[in-house]
Symmetry: C2
Subunit: 423 residues, 2 copies
């Protein structure tokens, strides 16, 4: 509890009066005794008790034009707000701080996850928005499968690499016991960096590489990483992660690891504590997936040896700073050439086909809302949660096979419109 | 205290074990009893007790390249950090949040003031940085004088308006009991807006005007305010006020009041709760000052009638969101034409003269670091604290008189260099 304010020069009787002595002394005594018990238990070394003003529904964000709209700004009700606004987790990150990116940031979901504890504090709301965002009901379970041998690749054509330019799989991991980037303290961010860097330092063979700290790299290293398109930039001020506090102290304790072949990449303390990326030219999905899983598992071993585990929940799956990425947080993507399909049904038609029939998202050559140059599109799994990593990679693989089969028909002058309509 | 985390699927014995039953139940009982007493006293309606992780000196912001340097980033020591980092005021705004603008923001001082309570919590540090910034030692008192008749204008020349293009006085006011913009809740921001708008609505005569909410104004009103150069913009993401959280929910509860003559302007919930500006063409300092003081005092009467007062402290003076503006927060300025002085000693020479000898700051025509076009400069008081409003306006008035006298000598071909050197 903060000390009482000294009465300012012009204050009068309206200034808060002290509590009646007897009651005040009883409360004070109780407070001291609880503190003594906490000290005895060693609790006070790690935690402190503070008193803060309650907020109520009058603090609900309404009646103004937010800069951006988000799922949060559309579906959060005053009742849901009131149920959560005074529940504050151990990192002092409030519900108001978590929804702020839904009003000030350019974010689809607009809901940050500051730490594991806050997920359980605000679980009803999180499970509600996760269902709205991902179609994953509150009682649904999430399962993990990182075994690349479980992916059925029998349909992949022999001439795959004629169509497939590159394959990439990425997902996030966060370590339990530390804040996610929106809420992590500087010391947590540094400890997380040290743990991950130690884990990465143990990688051997194909995964062996080097870590470059954004806060310590030399200008020559910076230039090299830029030339390789590996260097991530400070997120812009409209980004979700900026608006929820995840860009504080940039570039403190952020960095990039890559293997010597530049096919395995780890971003440290960007939007998540760890973002793991596996990629290579061509369409060898199992190779990319296997490398991805190996990297994640090898780092996990080092982390486990330190008594730490990745954040995980049976309903939510893997945690992430943003509600849009919970579950697997996995995005498996391939850059594929489909010029003949686009000739017949247009890029819009292809995007609709992928989204409505193939559980995939189709983007243009340069990402969302860009044009497919020379018929080159970026195909990826639509879902993130409620299916395992293997299932999501399978969906992407099967979808790509289906599309290449269609492309081959179109190449031979066949009309694919009726086939697409029948799918 | 947040509920204990459910053990995740892969957790084992490393997961925190519950306290021994007997001690846990005693602590729990004490907690319930304290809560019951609080409820009985009506405390729980306004405040809640939460447990948060303590931070320590390992969380000190060091060993990284901050985007900007600030006074805070230069003078804050690990010891000062450790003394303050676990003291949290009633708005849950931490010391870490207050210094963040000193590392992520483009700010000279880099230290936010979230509320009156936090000033008293972190007083040793605030008084230290205020002294470093303003030369106002911890034991110094601040005094207020808003009586424009106390300004001696006998030296102002009869042909003042030949040299003086315009005069402007501005200062901030904040209402006690609410957070300053970095920490204010939405409901506080709205209550503050309502209080100020009610106060402004009572203004009569010359001060009578209209309030335009940034969140409610029509496109036509927006255009008119833009054309009048009255409309303040959302502070950019590098601004101090952005980096300390004062731009949340923009444009919620922000707005502009101006009188019919457009000589009296109030910004609501921009960098401070209230920024009052009085201005007009020519050099009639008393008229500008009188209008400024009248507006502030009339709004204060309405606020007082509601049982509220402006934030004030005998050492600090008026509060402001930024340490650079505490004290009077007053900037009295005149746009003056001094082409002949600049011909002889250059703009740099004039700026040095103002700063070193006249307790004034001299800026170019378009503000800091701009060129003086046609000899037009912006002259203002250098200090903000430790002198009264009358004294600061007097300093500016006297300085302007001295400079106009020099300009007249230079106009007649006299050499002013020796005079300047002897000042």
């Amino acid at each position: 509890m903060p000390p009482a304010l000294p009465a300012p020069a012009s204050a009068s009787a309206s200034w808060p009066r002290p509590l009646p002595n007897s009651t005040a002394s009883v409360v004070s005594s109780l407070n001291s005794r609880v503190a003594a018990i906490e000290a005895d238990l060693g609790i006070s070394a790690a935690q402190q008790t503070i008193s803060i003003n309650k907020v109520d529904v009058s603090n609900f964000p309404k009646n103004f034009r937010p800069k951006y709209e988000s799922l949060t700004s559309k579906i959060l009700t005053p009742e849901m707000y009131a149920a959560n606004c005074n529940l504050v987790g151990p990192r002092n990150y409030t519900f108001d701080m978590a929804i702020q990116c839904g009003y000030d940031g350019r974010s689809g979901t607009g809901m940050a996850i500051p730490d594991q504890e806050s997920y359980y504090l605000w679980k009803d709301w999180y499970d509600f928005i996760i269902d709205k965002c991902h179609g994953h009901p509150p009682d649904a379970k999430h399962f993990t499968d990182l075994d690349s041998s479980h992916v059925d690749i029998s349909r992949l054509p022999a001439d795959l690499d004629k169509y497939c330019i590159s394959t990439r799989i990425r997902a996030a991991r966060n370590i339990s016991g530390y804040g996610l980037p929106p809420a992590s303290t500087r010391s947590e961010r540094r400890e997380v960096r040290d743990l991950i860097v130690e884990g990465l330092a143990g990688l051997t063979g194909e995964l062996k590489g080097k870590y470059f700290g954004l806060d310590t790299m030399s200008p020559a290293e910076e230039k090299q990483l830029q030339d390789d398109h590996f260097l991530f930039q400070m997120p812009d001020p409209n980004a979700m992660i900026f608006a929820c506090g995840g860009v504080r102290d940039w570039p403190d304790a952020r960095g990039i690891y890559h293997n010597d072949d530049k096919t395995f990449l780890v971003w440290v303390n960007e939007e998540d504590q760890m973002r793991v990326i596996s990629m290579q030219k061509g369409g060898n999905v199992p190779e990319v997936f296997k490398r991805f899983a190996l990297g994640i598992n090898e780092v996990e071993k080092v982390i486990n040896a330190k008594g730490k585990i990745y954040m995980y929940d049976d309903h939510l799956g893997q945690f992430s700073s943003c509600v849009s990425n919970v579950g697997t947080g996995l995005r498996a993507s391939m850059h594929i050439l489909l010029p003949k399909i686009i000739d017949q049904i247009g890029q819009d038609g292809l995007e609709a086909l992928c989204w409505n029939k193939l559980e995939m998202q189709c983007r243009g050559t340069g990402g969302e809302h860009t044009k497919a140059i020379g018929g080159r599109v970026d195909l990826s799994n639509q879902k993130r949660i409620g299916k395992t990593e293997v299932e999501l990679v399978q969906i992407m693989t099967d979808g790509v096979c289906t599309l290449i089969e269609l492309e081959k028909i179109a190449e031979k002058g066949g009309d694919i419109k009726a086939r697409v309509a029948a799918m």
